[in-house]
């Protein structure tokens, strides 16, 4: 994958996943199902664990075709978890001056995300990582980080992903 780093763009470079990367991703997905306690793709009960980890307050509200649990940490960081009618967390979004713990928020999808993200390309204030199962975007100036992660296959039918932000 070294050739990726030689591509002419610092970000969104002409990245294509090599077969080696695909194998690595596949391996990480298969292995990670036995490790982390998950959030994304898990049931709504897992949100309470995130709330405890953030020492946050939780508010819930209803969207059209989904529910949102919004956790606000003492430092002002907010994490929104989007819950489908069947109780599955299909997306998370965050905003704040400090990054949330993605390895817990992304749950079983973290390994797949990590293995793709470390291949680059790398940029200062915007990033978009797409894998076979998950899309993760982050951006913003320092002290104002925004991001979201979506599992497209879990988004309830009729829900526009644009509402996740």
């Amino acid at each position: 994958m070294k050739a990726l780093l030689l591509s002419p763009k610092i970000s969104f470079a002409r990245s294509r996943l090599s077969s080696a990367a695909l194998l690595a991703i596949l391996a990480s997905v298969l292995c990670s199902y036995h490790s982390a306690w998950g959030r994304l793709g898990e049931n709504a009960a897992s949100i309470e664990t995130d709330r405890q980890q953030l020492s946050g307050q939780i508010q819930t509200y209803a969207g059209t075709g989904f529910n949102v649990s919004e956790i606000t940490a003492p430092d002002g960081t907010t994490v929104r978890e989007y819950v489908a009618p069947d109780g599955t967390v299909f997306a998370v979004a965050w905003r704040g001056s400090r990054a949330p713990n993605l390895s817990s928020l992304l749950g079983n999808y973290y390994g797949e995300y990590r293995d793709a993200a470390v291949q680059g390309p790398f940029a200062l204030h915007h990033s978009s990582v797409k894998t076979a199962h998950i899309m993760v975007e982050t951006g913003g100036p320092m002290r104002a980080l925004w991001g979201r992660a979506i599992v497209p296959s879990l988004v309830p039918s009729g829900v526009n992903p644009d509402v996740i932000k």
């Binding site: 970000s11 001056s97 470390v118 913003g140």
Partner: protein, 418 residues
Amino acid sequence: MKLAPLRLKLAPLRPLLCACLLWACAPSGGSSGPNVTPPEVPGANVLALTVNAGPAQNSVDTAFTTVTICAPGTSSCQTISGIVVDTGSYGLRLFASQVSVNLPAETSGGSTVVECAYFASFTTWGPMKTAALTLGSEPAVNVPVQIMNDPNFPAPTSSQCSASSPPAACQCVNSAPNPTIATSAQQIGSNGILGVGVFTNDCPLCTTAPGSGAPGYYLCPSSNVSGCAVAPVPANEQAQNPVALLPTDNNGVIVDLPAIAATGAESVAGSLILGINTQTNNALGSATIYTLDSSGEMTTSYDGTNYTSFIDSGSNGLFFPDSSIPQCSSDPGWYCPSSTQSLSAVNTGTNGATGTVMFNIANATTLFDSGYTAFNDIGGNLSGLFDWGLPFFFGRQVFFGIAGQNPSLSGSAGFYAY
């Protein structure tokens, strides 16, 4: 995977030819020719900017400058080029491999102060050291600088992080937005990052409520990352926007890049001007001030939706959501419309100032294939934000007022003006 396009090397006559064209045909800052070099802005408060492929030869729409650092109180100095000018962060960060002078580390109780700072797709880890920094021909100022990828303070490895008792540091304990630690210019495209945005330091939370994530400061008693412990660090010991420390010209910066053609430029010269309304060369003039919120952001309305937004010399495109513009097949994430799209958006500051910006989005793959490095019309998809990156800067002076340093212009808030 496409290989990097070959760069056309024309006869050495070209610089002369271009200079003639620019001086004769476009003395106010020309917009034609592969190398756009307007007359330099004179002044001690000016740093030269260059938009080119950078030290890793892999960048587009990235503005680089050169800084001089000395060991404080000595004549041991060096200049480092290939530093990206980033109005989206605060403080100077240099790769250890670029630093040859002996800089003293910040210490507390015998431990070294080490920072974990985040950027969108990588994290920087390394000790804070004090450098006497010279910007342009301004007086040198002593400033805490983060030394990235310092072999004496290695970052936790992914295997350390996944161990049963991982180090309580950086991406191990509270994942940065990404799992990558910055290790080289080849990786991130620059020898360092000069953060000259609208705040004076990078982590106000870290002064009283140290967190274990990013950004976070640690005290490390030794090179073994397992011994590092999160700790509060006063604002003046954090990574500092060095502009705010200058004796004068300390209230902000102007990024000044000339207009370029829609087809781009092979390289572009410009200026980073220090101070606002402090010299004859940095007058605000008729620019409109957009004051910013406590996060350093404003609002941009695009296609009927309001987005949190920022103007950022450290972003190498215009990044915003528009599902109607096709994305490139060979350049994932970038926009590749079949014909150039003429678009507009409305910026609004917290002071109610509002203004429409017209901009174009052209086919990124076509432009990249030219081998040029500067474009005013490339962009890509980002869902929840509107990021006015470097294409926004060509052909206008953009002012960045530091929060708290401009009471008569913006109260206590930071601002953008253009």
